[in-house]
């Protein structure tokens, strides 16, 4: 049993006002007793939720409510290829170094720089981010296979937003 599973079980106990539980499975045996004089103040001290939540994001738009990039450590001033945590174990994440509009091809009628499944070399152009009418080529920081393209053509991207997952080879 993982700590996360245990947490879920405890959560359920609290929600249903259970004070004692014994559970035996082939894998484990669990006994829990709650209550007595225990007064626990576990305070959700994160970001408060305002009475009216922010308006839903006009899609497409890069905002805090869009798929949030795992926040880079505050000390790392430059967004870099980092280990992707979610969908692709061992993958490297290529993030937007500037704010702008994401284009997969050099021109509207040209073929995309890369497709999912393509093999790319370090330094190869993956996409363009247009910012203030300038086209900025974004290069791959590793050699590998493009596992996932995370942004659609023509969508705005914010600083640090993950663009590609690349499985290094």
């Amino acid at each position: 049993m993982t700590p996360k599973e245990l947490k879920q079980i405890l959560q359920a106990l609290v929600e249903h006002g259970v004070s004692e539980l014994t559970l035996e499975t082939p894998d484990y045996k669990l006994t829990v007793r709650r209550g007595g004089e225990v007064q626990v103040v576990a305070v959700p001290q994160g970001l408060p939720t305002p009475a009216s939540p922010p308006a839903p994001l006009p899609s497409p738009g890069p905002t805090g409510s869009a798929p949030v990039p795992p926040s880079p450590p505050a000390e790392a001033p430059q967004p870099e290829a980092t280990q992707a945590e979610d969908s692709c174990a061992g993958c490297v994440e290529i993030r937007a170094p500037i704010v702008g509009t994401f284009y997969r091809a050099p021109a509207p009628d040209a073929p995309p720089y890369v497709e999912e499944g393509d093999r790319v070399e370090k330094g190869q152009v993956l996409c363009i981010i247009e910012a203030m009418k300038l086209m900025n080529e974004i290069e791959s920081e590793v050699s590998g296979i493009v596992k996932k393209i995370l942004v659609k053509n023509g969508e705005p991207v914010e600083y640090g937003q993950p663009l590609f997952l690349i499985q290094p080879l």
Binding site: P77, I98, V99
Partner: protein, 445 residues
């Protein structure tokens, strides 16, 4: 105007969100990665990350900011204060991209942006400036000028600020050596030895006049007294000042005249030194909203940030000078995450327990929430508390009451609240005997 991009952070970003919301304008907060979990980001309609924590790469990153406005469909940018607020090039670039810059025109900024140009404009408008010289070519020139102005005089670095390259000179005997020392210091600090000379104003009050202009009409909203400073950092501001009515009126009218002279647009502040005889000297203009704007809002009832929006949307001034009515007295204290007992050293940390004051006459402008981690990358202002009351004496007592009920606590977190409590108790402060070196002289800090 449908949507504004806020190119700032902290309490002023929140202040701008509030004004925009009340006007029905959508908000996008441009933020660095360090401010991802900030209250403005939460409370805005949208947020967009524009760079890493260092402000040079985020809040001062013009391409990313403009690009952020363009991709989010914002048709206006509010720069707040600091960062790009007084950058004429940025204002110009906004205009070039069809984005309304909420502030003065680039031309306004250039006419008033640097001190030397602003002094020239002031003289044209018949507004007194501190008597002084341009860059000094020789010690002989300094001697002649000082003789004419009258001692004491002060030498200042042309390129500088913040006290370096400054020398106070009481007699002609001291002058030559002082010029040489000032030049050396200026060279060392700014790579430019040029110095100039000014009349030294003893124990001046720092008085600033709030103005609002629409390009043709300019009104003033009276003064703020910002004399409580430490090393040129304002700590406590109040309005009105304790100056006599005639002096207040003369300064305010001079300020409005100067702003009118340049066809000023938006909110701005003209700073003056006032000596003991009530002589006043224009020093410089801040072409933006100021940290201490709430005290003026409290006594006049005019929302200055909303006014910036309305003027930017092309509205003509909707209040005439005669309609500006002052009621009561307001005091603002700046609560910084600094340890006043250790030389106001920045004290960052996590805010765990938070309780702001309430009740009559109290306004709080702060981006704090319980659980907020104060990032180390930016300035230390974490809250402004403003107290209003019918009289100055009552406002002081109300502020004392408000501070006594304020709790901003976290491991290792120190604030300037104890400092403000001491200022408020100080007998000289209570009778209005304040001037720019009050903190050094009366608080010994």
């Amino acid at each position: 105007m449908k949507k504004v991009l806020i190119a700032n952070r902290g309490e002023i970003a929140l202040r701008i969100i509030r004004a925009a919301k009340e006007l029905g304008i959508k908000t996008v907060v441009a933020h660095s990665t360090a401010d991802e979990k900030s209250l403005p980001v939460l409370l805005a309609d949208e947020a967009i990350c524009i760079g890493p924590p260092p402000s040079g790469q985020s809040y001062l990153n013009i391409p990313n900011l403009l690009s952020a406005a363009i991709v989010t469909g914002a048709d206006a940018i509010h720069p707040g204060y600091g960062f790009l607020a007084e950058n004429a090039t940025f204002a110009e670039m906004c205009r070039d991209h069809g984005i309304t810059f909420i502030g003065p025109t680039p031309e306004n900024m250039r006419a008033l942006g640097d001190k030397a140009t602003a002094r020239k404009v002031a003289r044209e408008a018949g507004v007194p400036t501190v008597p002084g010289t341009d860059e000094l070519a020789s010690v002989e020139e300094a001697r002649r000028a000082a003789h004419e102005i009258g001692y004491p005089v002060i030498l200042k670095a042309s390129a500088g600020g913040g006290g370096r390259g400054m020398r106070l000179v009481h007699t002609e005997e001291e002058l030559e050596r002082a010029v040489q020392q000032a030049q050396e210091e200026a060279r060392a600090a700014f790579g430019n030895p040029a110095v100039y000379l000014e009349k030294y104003i003893e124990e001046p009050k720092h008085i600033e006049i709030q103005v609002l202009g629409d390009g043709e009409n300019v009104i003033h909203l009276w003064e703020r007294d910002c004399s409580i400073q430490r090393r040129h950092q304002k700590l406590l501001e109040e309005a009105p000042s304790t100056l006599p009515w005639e002096t207040r009126k003369a300064i305010a009218e001079a300020a409005a005249r100067l702003a009118r002279h340049v066809g000023y647009v938006s909110a701005g502040t003209l700073e003056f030194l006032v000596d003991k005889e009530g002589n006043f000297y224009f020093i410089e203009m801040n072409t933006r909203i100021q940290v201490e704007h709430p005290v003026t809002e409290m006594i006049t009832g005019v929302d200055l940030v909303q006014a910036q929006f309305r003027i930017a949307m092309g509205e003509r001034l909707w209040i005439q000078q005669e309609e500006v009515e002052v009621r009561g007295h307001a005091i603002e204290v700046r609560i910084n995450a600094e340890d006043p007992e250790k030389g106001f050293r920045p004290s960052i940390g996590k805010v765990e327990t938070l309780l702001f004051p309430g009740g009559p006459g109290i306004r709080v402008d702060s981006h704090l929430y319980a659980g907020y981690q104060i990032p180390p990358h930016y300035d230390s202002l974490i809250a402004k508390i403003i107290a209003w009351a019918p009289t100055r004496e009552e406002a002081i007592r109300r502020m004392e009451r408000a501070l006594s009920e304020t709790v901003i606590e976290g491991p290792g977190l120190k604030t300037t609240i104890p400092f403000h409590q001491k200022v408020l108790q100080n007998a000289f402060f209570r009778r209005g005997a304040v001037y720019t070196n009050f903190v050094a002289r009366r608080m010994e800090m």
